[in-house]
């Protein structure tokens, strides 16, 4: 294990049909990063499938939700001396061949976080009208509260440096953490860079955010961003 390098964190909840594919894809890329699967209390064979591909698995005793799962990965990275952490979704939306591209801006030390963005290039990413509206609202809220112009706030394809890993293992939002994390990181002075990536549609299964949940999602995340304004800085 080359611990000076990065750790690819893949949170997975009942992804037995997708997890094998994404692991194989990463292994085929020959990137010099280790892979860690966070099995978020899956009731199917997610952990077994992952282990059969010779990849370490951290199994949570029950479902914590994406935030708690990813944070477990940050804690693992911190304790095992990794300098970079890359979050990749298990459902195949993120293309492993773009991991190196995502990692590139961190090497110079100019940035702390890199976000793979769907909306940066005018590419052919298929999305619904509602999602576009949501994306604009989140961009506006984050811009108004922290002055950051992040176009794809909900992207879970991210790369963090050591300093950020340390911070996030202490503070990371629980459910629907992506947008809130950007607000919290911006508030605490982390430098965020957005680069264009192409996302694919899911291999199998359905997105965790259904139509019914999306209203709760919008309200919860907006509230979290607004409350963040009134919090004091957690760093320095």
């Amino acid at each position: 294990m080359s611990k000076s390098k990065g750790l690819i964190i893949i949170p997975a909840f009942n992804e037995e049909n997708n997890i094998g594919t994404i692991i194989k894809e990463i292994q085929n890329c020959r990137i010099n990063f280790d892979v860690l699967i966070i099995d978020d209390g899956s009731t199917d064979a997610t952990a077994e499938v992952a282990r059969s591909h010779d990849v370490p698995v951290v199994s949570l005793p029950f479902n914590l939700g994406i935030g708690g799962a990813v944070q477990t990965g940050f804690k693992f990275a911190l304790r095992n001396g990794y300098n970079y952490a890359i979050q990749v979704d298990a459902d195949g939306q993120h293309n492993p061949s773009e991991i190196e591209k995502l990692f590139e801006p961190l090497k110079e030390g100019e940035f702390d976080v890199v976000i793979g963005s769907r909306y940066l290039d005018k590419n052919d990413y298929q999305t619904t009208f509602f999602r576009r509206v949501g994306a604009v609202i989140f961009m506006g809220l984050n811009f108004l509260t922290t002055g950051q112009k992040i176009k794809d706030n909900t992207s879970g394809f991210r790369c963090y440096n050591r300093r950020t890993i340390e911070f996030l293992s202490k503070t990371y939002p629980d459910d629907y953490p992506e947008v809130e994390a950007i607000a919290v990181l911006g508030k605490n002075g982390f430098r965020i860079k957005e680069i264009p990536v192409r996302m694919r549609s899911r291999h199998s299964g359905s997105s965790s955010i259904t139509n019914l949940k999306s209203i709760y999602y919008m309200i919860k995340v907006s509230l979290a961003i607004l409350i963040n304004v009134f919090r004091s800085k957690e760093m320095k």
Partner: protein, 133 residues
Amino acid sequence: MERIQVFAILASAAVCIVIVELVRKKKLMEKYSLIWIFSTVILITLSLWRNFLERLADFLGIYYAPTALFIVLSFCGLGLLIHFSIAISTLTEQNKILAQEVALLKNEVQTINESEAPESKNVRYKRTSNEQE
């Protein structure tokens, strides 16, 4: 003394006794009993001290004094509920940290087991079967 006053005193006293009894039996932590006892003491005081209750009602613009008692009661209830929400949030956070810790330790134990014994799968199987005996 009005009937409602008698009822309010008896009910508050009953709640207070139940709470103290629960703490005595160690079914309720002192920490969580304080806010209950505090609430019942306020209610009993207001029920007995009719003069203060009337002045409070007057101040709040309530014509029938015992109604003020219900307002105070609802605020005590609200305080208790907020208190519980805070307690649940704390527990949820602690529970999350524990789950993460358990998962990370499980992984570490597994890694250690595997590095100690090359034929780790057999060793682990034997160990678990020993535990069951």
